[in-house]
């Protein structure tokens, strides 16, 4: 009876060492180089904005979320990701508000982690974009600015607007869309352009995301299908009219595509559960990104593309359910 070899236990008998906190904190870790690069490139403003949105997100989770939900790290990820898609000169109270909205309206109202339909960080970004359209599209200049200087009125009083006129510039996508100027690929790949904190440095994001993909913490099919569909779609367009449509490498490396494809589209909660579904999901995002960037009213479309596809995930899941082992297709049975 007491023989340990014949110990009877309940299933499951095989366990993975991964748990929600392990995965979530690995993602946080993999975002650190991206955040560090943003600070290196945008100065102390970047650190302040990221910290402010983390404070907003984690604070909201601690106040209204499920007990102990802060420790799983998911609110921290949301805060960091939100911070990375904001401009450096944003007043900090807006970043805190965005973080609170992300968690409050993006996650807690749906019932907490695992229940939300939309990516919380992107929802917070969409809210801020709709609430403060000017502040969210004021990109600080990147050249001839001392590193330690603030890139805007970060310390604007809560609820008040920016009091200083920061030196601003346009993002590569804005330049392409509204002024027909193309930014060199080298600048895009290594991050020396204007944009959101995590919009720059495509190669670095690719490396950090690749680390997660190797550990199976994100489904590589999603970023792969996004990149492939963006590349295929823009290659066709570029071949049709090279003067009007940008090159595929520009489209892949500019804007928030890298961050969105690697970190936001692959959110385990809001992406399809099947591999076939992941391909459909990714191709849909890639297609919508190009559609919005080239023909929409906005310069950047990654955020809305991912949110739209998030809404379709339940349908994708239902349509791509694999056949249960041992059963035959309805047609074959008949």
């Amino acid at each position: 009876m007491s023989d340990a070899r014949y110990l009877v236990t309940a299933s499951p008998h095989l366990r993975s060492r991964d748990s929600t906190p392990t995965i979530m904190w690995s993602v946080v870790g993999s975002l650190m180089p991206v955040a560090a690069f943003a600070v290196y490139y945008f100065g102390p403003s970047a650190l302040l904005v990221i910290l402010a949105s983390v404070v907003g997100a984690v604070g909201t989770e601690a106040a209204w979320g499920k007990k102990g939900a802060v420790r799983d790290g998911s609110a921290a990820i949301t805060g960091i990701l939100l911070g990375l898609c904001l401009p450096a000169g944003l007043p900090l109270w807006m970043a805190v508000l965005g973080g609170a909205f992300s968690i409050g309206f993006g996650k807690i109202v749906f019932g907490g982690l695992g229940q939300n339909i939309f990516n919380p960080a992107l929802l917070g970004r969409a809210f801020l974009q709709a609430a403060f359209p000017v502040a969210l599209t004021t990109w600080p200049a990147v050249e001839n600015v001392p590193w330690w200087s603030l890139r805007g009125d970060n310390f604007a009083l809560p609820l008040m607007g920016s009091r200083v006129d920061a030196v601003t510039t346009a993002t590569p996508l804005g330049l392409m869309k509204f002024e027909q100027v193309t930014t060199p690929i080298r600048d895009l790949a290594f991050g020396t352009t204007a944009g959101s904190l995590g919009e720059t440095g495509a190669v670095l994001i690719l490396l950090c995301g690749g680390y997660l993909a190797l550990n199976n913490y994100l489904n590589w099919r999603i970023p792969a299908s996004i990149f492939l569909s963006v590349a295929a779609f823009t290659t066709v367009l570029h071949l049709i009219d090279g003067a009007r449509y940008p090159t595929p490498q520009f489209m892949l490396l500019s804007g928030g595509l890298m961050l969105g494809a690697m970190y936001m589209a692959t959110d385990m909660v809001t992406s399809p559960t099947t591999n076939r579904g992941s391909w459909i999901f990714g191709v849909g995002i890639g297609f919508l990104v190009v559609l919005i960037r080239l023909w929409g009213g906005l310069a950047e479309g990654v955020m809305y593309a991912i949110l739209i596809m998030n809404a379709l995930v339940p349908f994708i899941n239902r349509a791509t359910q694999p056949r249960v082992f041992g059963t035959t297709r309805a047609k074959a049975a008949a």
């Binding site: 007043p91 807006m94 309206f105 109202v109 809210f127 709709a130 609430a131 403060f132 359209p133 502040a135 604007a156 009083l157 609820l159 008040m160 607007g161 920016s162 009091r163």
Partner: protein
């Protein structure tokens, strides 16, 4: 179930404010609550129109309830409501043309507002004229309070003003989203959340008394 006691007339008036609030409890009239609450002035104008239409049609319906054949009662109510809506529409257009223009089609849409048809069908058609009047006024007050609450939240946050008067100072950064359609959904959702939270808390406080009285009955239910 105990036989229904006649409710005191005062109850007919105040039930619409909180316990049976048309928007927050019955979830009726959500279309105007979402669409025209982007400023306090619009909310007030809409509420005034609803008050006029609801009181007018409730009075008329409860007066003629005995002579309306039940087969055609809904269409009769709609005709009566439409008559009052047309009057309200014309009065608004003549007196406050700017607000009328902003409200747009939503004044005409009061015809299909479920609060009004609902009160005719559920109350005015089976109660006395006096009670119907009290019910209509109470429901209108409940509707007005909700509309003004939403209008206040949205105008103050979205524009920094209340009834057009600046309340947040000259440097206020308006939350543009609050006067756009998403702001309506966010505000209504938040208000419903807070409202049902308050209600549930009240019920939980009342629970221990009933639970002590008969726990077995509670379990069977």
């Amino acid at each position: 179930m105990s036989p229904r006691k006649p409710t005191p007339p005062s109850q007919e008036l105040i039930k619409g404010v909180w316990r049976e609030n048309p928007v927050l409890v019955q979830l009726l009239g959500l279309c105007p609550a979402l669409a025209v609450t982007n400023s306090v002035a619009n909310s007030l104008a809409m509420s005034a129109a609803v008050l006029f239409v609801l009181v007018g049609s409730s009075l008329l319906v409860s007066t003629i309830k005995r002579i309306v054949p039940s087969d055609v009662r809904i269409s009769t109510y709609i005709l009566i409501i439409a008559t009052f809506v047309t009057i309200a529409d014309m009065i608004l257009e003549a007196s406050v043309p700017a607000v009328h223009k902003e409200l747009g089609a939503f004044v005409a849409l009061i015809v299909v507002n479920c609060i009004i048809l609902g009160r005719q069908e559920a109350f005015a058609s089976r109660n006395s004229v006096g009670r119907s009047l009290l019910d209509a006024v109470g429901m209108s007050i409940g509707f007005t309070l909700t509309m003004v609450l939403m209008g206040t939240v949205r105008e103050v946050l979205g524009n920094g003003t209340f009834l057009g008067i600046s309340v947040m100072g000259p440097h206020y950064e308006p939350w543009v989203i609050m006067i756009l359609p998403p702001g309506g959904f966010l505000t209504l959702g938040t208000i419903l959340l807070v409202f049902s939270w308050i209600k549930r808390r009240g019920e939980e406080r009342a629970k221990p008394a009933t639970a002590a009285a008969g726990p077995a009955v509670g379990k069977a239910a």
